[in-house]
Symmetry: C2
């Protein structure tokens, strides 16, 4: 696939609280689904602690490897919010108070509330373009191929809507979901045979375990809708002798 | 800190379905909290696709960097389950059907159900020790400092209970949680002052945004309980003039 067809992204989640398990990350899944729907392939997600060396290393590795890097976390007002400084360091640029960002903060905070800590949120690496934050005003920013967003999910999600407009999108894959109540060990053989016949369709199987027992759902993805549909039909045909199987509605993708 | 005091771990989540957003990962948060409670520091979490090169590279990087690596996903019966082969490749060992693993599978599946696909789940790298799976029998395994577990949360969680018994644990950190209804920009200044006075206590602040507005909770962590308690008291004293603040019960850690 040429670069024109595929657009890749890495997700970098920054924060001790995720690695201690205190906060359960909700951003990876949200961003992954969002970018996939734009035709952008999420190639990796990584969680690192609030540690400058680790953040800078991950930024450098990921921005080299992927078309885009989206980060969440570490842009608040406290001493452990070091993401903006780390991004400046990774790009080798100066960071200082940004007038536009300060104006956003003053639109929310009367001057007596604009504490030194809050003013820190206006510190932006030079050369960056701001990402508006409609929820709490303190902006994220974009520099090079890196998009820096807040960690609080409601704020991140609002920022992501703004980020999305700036991204080059890829060809969205055609997806067909197949739901079965057949155990994965029974679908595996037929699936392998179909996969061999449809090398251009990615066929994944996702086992589940619920009170009603074991089962596996199947997803077919590919660039050619007709091929994906044909692979899905072949799978339904191959599995229907083994148990309940049905094509799921497309919005369940 | 010496190696005797700190035990580190990395979490490696394997699976296209997490990166497409189709499946929302629940394993990172669960494992992170579990290991933290054992006094093991989770230093990184990473999600990679079902791709041999990427899995082997992540395994090699993480098993070198941390005391332990725990993986989830990719050990089922289907063609896209390639984790065991990748681990064998990373360690440079042969993989083949393991008698003990096969016995576990035959305890569940009558021979007519033990399809070729299911038998694949008995393929284990040489030199590995099995991890029992009380839910669906197909085992995980341990080799070197790597622990390979299933991706389905209910199965992973059962395996993790077995893995935990084999891990060297560190000194569990003493943790005090402080709940506030004060916005993060207002707690930031006082927190920074307390952090400077208590360099041996890690003080984190976690903003939230709910229907009732903005706020921030604070967590103090450290090896010396008395120091952590003292830092927490200093924070409560410093913040109480600014709004509602209270020590949270310890089990909310």
């Amino acid at each position: 696939m040429s670069a024109a067809e595929t657009v890749s992204a890495g997700i970098l989640v920054i924060g001790d609280e995720i690695l201690s398990g205190r906060t359960k990350d909700k951003n990876i899944g949200y961003i992954a689904e969002y970018l996939t729907n734009l035709g952008i392939e999420v190639a990796e997600a990584r969680v690192v602690p609030d540690d400058e060396t680790r953040i800078v290393a991950a930024l450098d590795e990921m921005r080299e490897a992927y078309d885009y890097v989206l980060t969440t976390g570490g842009i608040g007002p406290t001493h452990d919010d070091i993401t903006a400084d780390c991004v400046a360091k990774a790009f080798g640029v100066v960071i200082s108070e940004n007038d536009e960002a300060l104006a956003m903060l003053t639109s929310r905070f009367p001057s007596r509330e604009l504490t030194e800590a809050r003013r820190r949120m206006a510190r932006i690496p030079h050369g960056a373009r701001l990402i508006e934050n409609p929820v709490s005003k303190a902006p994220g920013f974009e520099i090079g191929n890196v998009f820096v967003m807040a960690g609080v999910p409601a704020i991140m999600q609002a920022m992501l809507d703004n980020v999305a407009k700036r991204l080059r999108t890829g060809i969205r894959l055609h997806v067909v979901n197949i739901e079965t109540r057949i155990r994965e060990g029974d679908v595996a053989g037929p699936l392998r045979a179909v996969q061999e016949a449809f090398a251009d369709v990615a066929i994944g199987s996702y086992p589940y375990y619920s009170d009603s027992g074991f089962g596996a759902n199947v997803v077919c993805r590919g660039r050619e809708p007709a091929r994906v549909e044909a692979a899905a039909e072949a799978i339904v045909a191959a599995l229907s002798a083994l148990g309940e199987v049905r094509l799921a509605p497309p919005d369940a993708a």
